[in-house]
Assembly symmetry: C2
Homo-oligomer: 219 residues x 2
C-alpha cells in the first residue's frame, strides 16, 4: 500500500480530524468487517455497489462472492473502490444537528484481476475461510480441483487507502449544554448467538472448539 | 418505485433463487441498516463508495453525512447506487466451497438532488433522527434556520430496486454429508450495550424511556 494522502481522491475533504491515513488502521477495519461494499462502473457508465466477502493478506485484497463474475465482466481491468464500515454506536447530542454515529470506515482503490492458478485460488479460499472463522480451514473439506475451477476469486493490490473513524460522545453547541435534554452514546456491537447445528450431522460430531472461541470473542 | 425486474442491471444474475424483487423487502432492509454505501462516479470516471446515513419515506430516500457535499459535487444530476447489507450469520458447510453468510442486501438506483427548502430539510432531519432512534425527534433541540442552511441533505426517488436474501443452514454436496465435519450456522446480530451518559448532563436529567426501548429491541 502506498501512502494515500498524496492523491486527491483519497483525501477526506470533510471533517479532516476524523481522517486516519495509518495503513494499519485501514487493514484492521477491513479485517473486522464481515462484508465489503464494492463499487464498480457498469457498461454505460453508471456506478453499481455490491456486497462481497473479502480477505486481506498485507496489501493484497481478495474478493469473493456470487457477483464476482459480474464484477469481472463489468470492470475488466478497471479500477474499483472497496469500502468497509463498522458502526460502533449511536451518538445522541442535545441538538438534532449534532447527532451522529461512531464508526470506522476504510476506503481502498485498486484494479482487480481474476486469479487463474489453482494454488492462488487455494490461498485465497484459505484466507476467506480463516477470516470468516479462524480454525475452520483445517477442519472442513478443502476444495477439489473441479470446485476451484468453478470459483471466481479476485485479487487486487491496494493502490490507495484511507480510513475515517469517529469515537467518543456528543459535541454540542456551547449554549446547548444548559438544556434539560439527555445526551450520550449507545454502543453497538455484533454478537454471535447460539449455533444452529445442521440437521444432518453424523452421530458423534461435536461443535469444534474454535466455534466456541468465536462466540466468546463476539459476546 | 417501479418494478425493477424489467431492467437488466437490477437483475440478480447469479443464484437467482436468492433474489427478491418485493419492494417491501427492499424497504425493510434499507430501514434496518444503520448506514448505506453510496456509489458514485467521480470526475475522471472512477467509482467511489462512501458510507452515509440514510432514511426512507416510501420511495423517497434521504442521504446525509459529511460526504454529502462531495456527493453533490461529484454526481450533480447523475445516477447513484445505494446499497445496504445486513449480515445475519456465518454458514459453515462441511466443504470449504459451500461456506457462506446469511445476509439481506438491498440495491437501489436513483438521481439525488440537494434539498433546498427549509421545510424539506426539516422533514429529512426528522426522518434521520427517528430512524437513528425512534422517539428522539420530540426530545432533542430542533435545528435552527442557521443550522438548516449549513446542512447538506439529499433526496432521491428510488427508480430501481432489488433485494437479495440468504437464510438457512449450509447446503453441501450429497457425498459430503457422510464426513465427520461439524456444520451449522452461527447467528449474528447487532446489540446495544449500556449507554454512556454525556459528562455534562445537567442534574436531574434521566435517560429517556425510548433509549431503554431501543436497547430492549437490540438485546
Amino acid at each position: 500500500m502506498s501512502p494515500p494522502g498524496d492523491r486527491p481522491r483519497s483525501r477526506v475533504s470533510r471533517v479532516p480530524d476524523r481522517a486516519d491515513y495509518d495503513l494499519a488502521t485501514v487493514g484492521e477495519i477491513l479485517d473486522a468487517a464481515p462484508v465489503a461494499h464494492v463499487g464498480l462502473m457498469e457498461e454505460g457508465g453508471f456506478p453499481v455497489v455490491i456486497p462481497m466477502l473479502h480477505a486481506r493478506a498485507g496489501d493484497q485484497l481478495y474478493l469473493h462472492g456470487s457477483s464476482a463474475s459480474r464484477l469481472i465482466r463489468s470492470s475488466g481491468g478497471s479500477e474499483i473502490c472497496v469500502t468497509a464500515t463498522l458502526v460502533d454506536g449511536l451518538v445522541l447530542a442535545r441538538s438534532v444537528f449534532h447527532h451522529s454515529v461512531n464508526y470506522r470506515s476504510a476506503v481502498v482503490f485498486g484494479t482487480p484481476e481474476r486469479i487463474e492458478d489453482e494454488a492462488g485460488k487455494l490461498a485465497a479460499l484459505e484466507a476467506f475461510t480463516e477470516k470468516l472463522i479462524p480454525g475452520r480451514w483445517a477442519d472442513a473439506r478443502v476444495p477439489s480441483s473441479q470446485e476451484l475451477k468453478g470459483t471466481g476469486v479476485l485479487r487486487m493490490t491496494i493502490d490507495e487507502a484511507s480510513a475515517k473513524v469517529r469515537t467518543g460522545g456528543p459535541v454540542d453547541e456551547p449554549e446547548d449544554y444548559e438544556l434539560p435534554v439527555w445526551a450520550g452514546t449507545v454502543p453497538l456491537r455484533t454478537v454471535a448467538g447460539e449455533t444452529i447445528p445442521d440437521d444432518r450431522l453424523i452421530d458423534g460430531v461435536e461443535e469444534p472448539g474454535y466455534v466456541g472461541e468465536y462466540r466468546d470473542a463476539h459476546s
